[in-house]
């Protein structure tokens, strides 16, 4: 398994501001994933973050809105920029460990007013 922590666990933000979410893993991993879970909905992959290279974004997500850093093999950040109420979601960090299994952090609950 994997032990993953996220900071902050929740936040309430004003429209137009930005929030950076941190993800820390207990051991080195090649790929880290960022997901969004909008209220009452399933998980949607935002991007994949590899250490030492630019993140790969899924359709509908852009780097200007969701810049990602991956400075080492145990840490990543996701920034939600210029927030609007539509960005209110749970943001989840995930890593792949073992045979094809993804493990998730506890999530960051974001409310944008």
């Amino acid at each position: 398994s994997a032990v993953i922590s996220q900071k902050p666990s929740r936040d309430i933000c004003q429209r137009g501001t930005s929030l950076t979410i941190q993800c820390q893993v207990d051991s080195q991993v090649t790929m880290m994933f960022w997901y969004r879970q909008q209220p009452g909905q399933s998980l949607t992959l935002i991007a994949t973050a590899n250490q030492g290279s630019e993140a790969t974004y899924e359709s509908g997500f852009v780097i200007d809105k969701f810049p990602i850093s991956r400075p080492n093999l145990t840490f990543s950040t996701l920034t939600v920029s210029n927030m609007s109420p539509e960005d209110s979601s749970i943001y989840l960090c995930s890593v792949r460990r073992g045979q094809e299994t993804q493990y998730f952090g506890p999530g960051t609950r974001l409310l944008v007013l």
């Binding site: 398994s1 996220q6 399933s42 998980l43 994949t48 094809e100 299994t101 993804q102 998730f104 952090g105």
Partner: protein
């Protein structure tokens, strides 16, 4: 296109009764299938997976799932439900040839005392 479906938004079951949460998939090739559980205000927890081998897979907390290739299903089961099993359950499939997962829309399980 590859997809996974959870046809029931909510499943209610009495404590002590068997439970089933349904999942069907559509993929090309052999699927890698997963079940996750999300408790209130928590991240996703891995329950079990099917990669290859026995069609009946046993996982955490007494849950099991049966892979049925002819019916393209991977239903989650438990012989005797507990009130503490009440949570949101997600089925997921790995997109073959990639590291990406597709998640179902989730099924809310409510176990009644």
């Amino acid at each position: 296109a590859q997809s996974v479906a959870q046809p029931e938004d909510q499943v209610n079951v009495a404590e002590g009764n068997p439970l089933t949460v349904k999942c069907t998939y559509s993929v090309s090739g052999n699927p890698y299938l997963f079940w996750y559980v999300q408790y209130p205000n928590r991240g996703l927890q891995f329950l079990l997976k099917y990669i290859t081998g026995d069609n009946l897979v046993k996982g955490s907390y007494g849950f099991e799932a049966e892979f049925n290739k002819s019916q393209t299903s991977f239903h989650l089961k438990k012989p005797s439900a507990l009130v503490s099993d009440s949570a949101l359950y997600f089925c997921a499939v790995r997109v073959l040839g990639t590291y990406k997962y597709i998640f179902g829309t989730g099924t809310r399980l409510k176990v009644l005392a």
